[in-house]
Every structure is written in structure tokens, then in C-alpha cells.
């Protein structure tokens, strides 16, 4: 890319960020509320993709981290304040991820997915059991003096961190290592690479960010119980959004989150059942014709213009007969 275009991209990016962070000053409460929900999806999807997107270890445990963050804020915010409680919750999310990652990352493929799901459901029922037996209540109430704009800014900050980290990761040596883990971990290990450290680290980073989303959104709830904070729908939705966008690019998961979030915002209230039927059909058609998600927009454009595939795609091209003919002259 020419230097001028790089500078332009930076300027546009900074301008966009400025506009987003100043949004509560000039946009309506409705818009701020809508974007707050959308950016929470973006943050969760990007955080998920930081570990699972490239490595192929599909985690179904986002809800566990999200719930830990939510509960941390509900319990700690009255003592230490809201922002510190988000940070503490994020730290706890990271610790949980280190623990879970340490025991679960030796399992691969569907075993890992099912284990993360099982652990996150186990956490939900253990918290529920604890609350019923020792707290003598199921739910908790929290009222914080934070308005929609404040929650929006916190969510946006987490989303920017998650997307920014993804941008860096996908272009870095670590991103390529994670992609290599996804392609053939055994071969990578036999070449002398150590994969465990990287996997656990990225899983922990993903846990920190997902928990931070929970803490940032917490003031919006005012009431929570384990079924809300640890709802398995959070995990499913996150994976769905990230994969819909396509996890082979850093901008795939955010794109998927924005698309699905917007579509559901406008269609789900008026045509609830019909919307979900259409969504199902859309998913099936999309997977059939755009197997790599919405990010295929770029690949199609690139192919159409006759460019070479970006680095790291050769391996996939090798696996797809239809591609190799075009990418290898």
C-alpha cells in the first residue's frame, strides 16, 4: 500500500474513533443504546476470535467469562466502584480462563468445544446452587449511578481493545502460529514449535475481554440471576456472529456481529418467528455459497481483480482444488 493511503487509513480510523467516543454528546439515546448493544456483540465476537478464530479450538464458553464479569461488578461495584470492578472482573475472567485452559486445552476438536460448554454450564449451576443454599436468594439487584452513555463508553472501550488486538494479532507472527495450529498442530509440534503457552495466553486474553464486556454491561441489567449472566445463548450467539462474519480475517467477527445485531434489532421484534426462520435459511445459504463467511467479499473482489492471495491463505488454497489453479500460476 502506498504511504499516502496508509496515512489516509489512519486518519479515517482516528476520526471514526473520535466520532464513536463522542457519540453520547450528540446522538440520541436510542442510537447510543443500539450501538451499546452492537458493540457488546462486537467485543464478544472479537474476543472469541482472538483465540478460537484462527486456532480452530472452538470455545463454547464465552458465557462463563461474561457471567464472571457481570457477577464481579454486581458484588464489587458497591465496594470499590464501577470501573475498578470491571477491571477486577476482567482479571478474574483471565484467571478462570487460565484454569480452564490449563485443563482443557489438551483436548481437541469437538471434545474441546463440548468441554468448554460443559464447564460453563457447570459454573452456572454451581453459582445457582450457591445462591440458593447460602445467599437464600436466586437473583441480585444493583443500581449504579451510570447512564446509557457511560455504559456505552465502557463497552466501546472494550470493543476497541478487542478489535485492536485482533488487528495486531492477525497480522503478527503469533497469528500465523495460531493459524498453523488450526491447519495441522501435530506437524507444527514436530517442527519444534511449542504451542501450549501461546494457546493458554490467547485463551486468557479472550477471557479477560469477555469478562470485561460483562462488567461493562452490568449497570444496564439492574437485576441478574445465574440464568441471565451465564446464559448459554451468549456463547452460541458469539460463535455464530464470529463465524458468520468469517474468522479468517480480523474484521470478520465484528462484521458478523454488526450484521446479525442490526438485522435482529430491526426484524426480531416485529416478526419474531419469521425472523428466526429467515435467519436459519440465510445461515444455510451463506455456508453453502460463501463457506468462509462474509469476509469472502474481499476474496471475491481480490480474485476478480486478479490479485494474489494474502499470506497464510496458500495453505487453505492448497486444500481447496478450485482455488489452487488461480492462486498458483
Amino acid at each position: 500500500m502506498a504511504r499516502g493511503r496508509v496515512q489516509l487509513a489512519w486518519l479515517l480510523g482516528l476520526g471514526g474513533l473520535g466520532a464513536l467516543f463522542s457519540l453520547p454528546l450528540w446522538a440520541s439515546t436510542y442510537v447510543v443504546g443500539l450501538l451499546q448493544a452492537l458493540f457488546a456483540y462486537v467485543a464478544l465476537a472479537s474476543a472469541w476470535a482472538l483465540f478460537s478464530g484462527l486456532s480452530g479450538y472452538f470455545s463454547l464458553g464465552s458465557a462463563a467469562f461474561f457471567g464472571v464479569g457481570t457477577y464481579a461488578t454486581f458484588l464489587l461495584a458497591p465496594v470499590v466502584g464501577w470501573i475498578p470492578s470491571i477491571l477486577l472482573g476482567a482479571g478474574m475472567g483471565g484467571l478462570v480462563a487460565l484454569g480452564v485452559g490449563g485443563i482443557s486445552l489438551r483436548l481437541k476438536g469437538p471434545y474441546f468445544a463440548i468441554l468448554t460448554f460443559g464447564l460453563s454450564e457447570l459454573v452456572r449451576y454451581l453459582v445457582l446452587g450457591y445462591e440458593m443454599r447460602f445467599s437464600r436468594t436466586v437473583g441480585r439487584v444493583l443500581i449504579l449511578p451510570v447512564d446509557v452513555g457511560g455504559v456505552y463508553l465502557a463497552v466501546l472501550a472494550v470493543a476497541v481493545a478487542a478489535v485492536g488486538l485482533s488487528m495486531w494479532l492477525y497480522g503478527s507472527r503469533y497469528g500465523r502460529l495460531l493459524a498453523a495450529i488450526g491447519a495441522d498442530e501435530g506437524r507444527l509440534e514436530s517442527l519444534g514449535f511449542r504451542t501450549t503457552g501461546l494457546k493458554v495466553t490467547m485463551f486468557a486474553v479472550s477471557g479477560v475481554l469477555s469478562a470485561a464486556v460483562g462488567g461493562a454491561l452490568a449497570p444496564r441489567w439492574t437485576y441478574i440471576d445465574p440464568h441471565i449472566a451465564f446464559s448459554p445463548l451468549i456463547s452460541f450467539q458469539t460463535v455464530l456472529m464470529a463465524l458468520l462474519g468469517g474468522a479468517t480475517r480480523w474484521w470478520g467477527p465484528p462484521l458478523g456481529a454488526l450484521t446479525l445485531g442490526l438485522v435482529s434489532e430491526f426484524l426480531s421484534i416485529r416478526f419474531r418467528y419469521l425472523y428466526l426462520i429467515l435467519l436459519g435459511l440465510l445461515l444455510i445459504v451463506l455456508v453453502r455459497f460463501w463457506p468462509r463467511g462474509l469476509v469472502e467479499v474481499e476474496d471475491r473482489a481480490r480474485r476478480w481483480r486478479g490479485r494474489r492471495l494474502p499470506l497464510g491463505e496458500e495453505r487453505r488454497a492448497e486444500l481447496q482444488p478450485g482455488w489452487s489453479a488461480e492462486s498458483d500460476p
Binding site: G56, F58, I103, S104, L107, K108, G109, P110, Y111, A113, I114, L115, G118, L119, E121, L122, Y125, L126, L128, G129, M132, G182, A183, D184, E185, G186, F236, V239, L240, L243, L244, A247, Y273, L274, L276, I277, L279, G280, L281, L282, L283, I284, L286, V287, R288, P291, R292, R315, R316, L319, Q320, P321
Partner: protein, 302 residues
């Protein structure tokens, strides 16, 4: 523990377990070809339950006859879904990560479609009917007749299924496919036809289990997901790709669940199931009845 309590818990557990086993075998058959969690599997149970319900309440078709009628219907449905939805995607290639991602997305798509179609057709309210509702006394304990009939049907089906999978050439081919897809292809098994067959068979099993479910419990369009999750737990207990393991695992889980509800209380029963799932995955990841991976293809990156 006195005899009556023991009988009650035991019979309840085996009944639940029989249902779980049938659903789980269906999921395991499909897992064998797709290598991924088919999260829509329980929706076929839900659909089967509603079809039986509708046949009985509006046309007066006996639920047990409805169950028999449903088998070819659900087989064709599953076979068609495989041909239209899955086949093209599985043949796209693109490596294990993409395949896993895409079949997960596909099954989510199916889940949304089926559950919401049911909501459109039958509405969100609870449905149910009474069939064989009187009780019979066995050894001084009262058992509802429909439970005993469902138990009998589930056990009969289990035996038939085991016979089919272990005593016929087709069944042996299906087991080979589940245990080692690459090897099965290498010895010349017709992969595409077997895939369609096992998907259809999985759906048929889910559908007819749904018929039994409709005889026992009330229905809502959202009952599918819990069955999917239970079936996942069962196939992990029994080992992915291991049919006999799924049957045993299902019975075991049913009995444990009934016992657990009695010992730790109904509210902690679900926690118990998940604790079991996690423990098995951590200590015996290839199932309770196997100590090593059935084939290299199932674990390496798969």
C-alpha cells in the same frame, strides 16, 4: 432403601435412560459423518413429538401406530436434509477448521428453522394428551401404563438397533464409517450413500423417540435443545463413534439422573450431569468404555 422406592427410581431411571440412549445413538450416527455437534438434533425429537400429538388429537391415530408411521417419514426428511443442506458443504473441502465451523453453522440454521416453524404451527403454549393414563401395580408399586409401554418400546428398539448394527452388513458398514471414515473409504464403502443413510437413520431415531416423549411429557417447541445437550453428554460418556457405548451411556445417565434427583435434590440434578460430563472429558476423553482414540482421524485436529 425400601423395595418400592428402589423400583420407582430404577424404573424411572431406565425409562429416561432408554429415551436418552435412542436420541444419543441418532446423534452419534450423525456425528460419525459430520465430525461436529449437530445442535439441531433435539429439534427432530420435538418435531416427532408434535407430529404424534397432532395425529392423535386431530385424527385419532394411536400414538404407537403414529410412531411406526413416523419412522419412514423422518428417515426421508433426514435423508433429504442431508442431500440438500449438508452434502454440498461437506464436499467443499477447506480443511477441518472450516468444515467444523460450517457444519456448526448449518445445524444452527436448522435449529432456528425447525424450532420457529413449530412455534408458527403449534404456538408457544404447553400441549399434551392423555394416553394409557391409568396405573398398574407391580410388586406393590403403582406404575403409569404409558411409562411401562414407552419403556418396553425403548428397550425393544434398542435391541433391534444393536442387532441391525452388529449383525447386518449395512450396520457393520455404518459402524466402520463412524469409527474410521478414512479407512472406510479406503476399503471402498460408498461414502455418500452411507452418509445420507446414517443421517436419515439418526433423524428417524430422534423422531420416534419424540413419539414416546409425547406420550409421557407435555410439549413446547423449545424442548429440543435440552435433549440435544443430554445426547451430547451421553455420546461423550459412551465415546464418540461408539454405538453400544451410547446405549449403555444413555441408560447409565438416566439412572444417575433419577438417583441424583433423589439424593442431591432435583435442583442440583443438572449440575450433577455437567460435573459428570466434565469429569469424563478430563479423565476418560474417549468414553467410559474405551481407553484410547478409536482412530487417529477423530482426534488430530478433527
Amino acid at each position: 432403601m425400601d423395595v418400592r422406592l428402589f423400583l420407582e427410581i430404577g424404573a424411572g431411571g431406565i425409562l429416561l435412560g432408554g429415551l436418552y440412549a435412542l436420541i444419543a445413538v441418532g446423534l452419534n450416527l450423525q456425528y460419525g459423518l459430520m465430525r461436529v455437534l449437530n445442535v439441531a438434533h433435539g429439534e427432530f425429537v420435538m418435531l416427532g413429538a408434535y407430529v404424534t400429538y397432532t395425529l392423535y388429537t386431530s385424527l385419532g391415530v394411536n400414538p404407537l401406530l403414529g410412531l411406526v408411521l413416523q419412522v419412514p417419514l423422518f428417515f426421508l426428511l433426514g435423508w433429504a436434509i442431508y442431500g440438500v443442506v449438508y452434502r454440498g458443504v461437506l464436499e467443499q473441502g477447506g480443511g477441518p477448521v472450516q468444515l467444523e465451523a460450517n457444519s456448526l453453522l448449518l445445524s444452527f440454521g436448522l435449529l432456528f428453522i425447525l424450532e420457529n416453524l413449530a412455534l408458527v404451527v403449534w404456538g408457544p403454549s404447553l400441549r399434551g394428551y392423555q394416553y394409557l393414563h391409568h396405573s398398574v401395580s407391580i410388586l406393590g408399586t403403582l406404575f403409569p401404563t404409558n411409562r411401562l409401554v414407552a419403556l418396553g418400546v425403548a428397550l425393544l428398539l434398542t435391541v433391534l438397533l444393536l442387532g441391525f448394527l452388529h449383525r447386518t452388513a449395512l450396520g457393520t458398514a455404518l459402524r466402520a464409517l463412524m469409527q474410521d471414515p478414512e479407512g472406510a473409504e479406503a476399503v471402498g464403502l460408498p461414502l455418500v450413500r452411507l452418509h445420507g443413510l446414517s443421517f436419515g437413520l439418526g433423524c428417524a431415531l430422534a423422531g420416534l423417540t419424540g413419539s414416546l416423549v409425547s406420550m409421557l411429557f407435555t410439549l413446547t417447541p423449545s424442548i429440543g435443545m435440552p435433549y440435544t445437550i443430554t445426547a451430547l453428554v451421553v455420546i461423550i460418556l459412551g465415546g464418540l463413534g461408539n454405538v453400544a457405548g451410547s446405549l449403555l451411556g444413555g441408560l447409565l445417565l438416566g439412572v444417575l439422573e433419577a438417583l441424583g434427583a433423589y439424593v442431591v435434590g432435583a435442583d442440583m440434578r443438572t449440575a450433577l450431569i455437567y460435573a459428570l460430563l466434565v469429569a469424563v472429558l478430563l479423565f476418560r476423553p474417549y468414553g467410559l468404555f474405551q481407553t484410547r482414540a478409536p482412530s487417529p482421524g477423530q482426534t488430530a485436529g478433527g
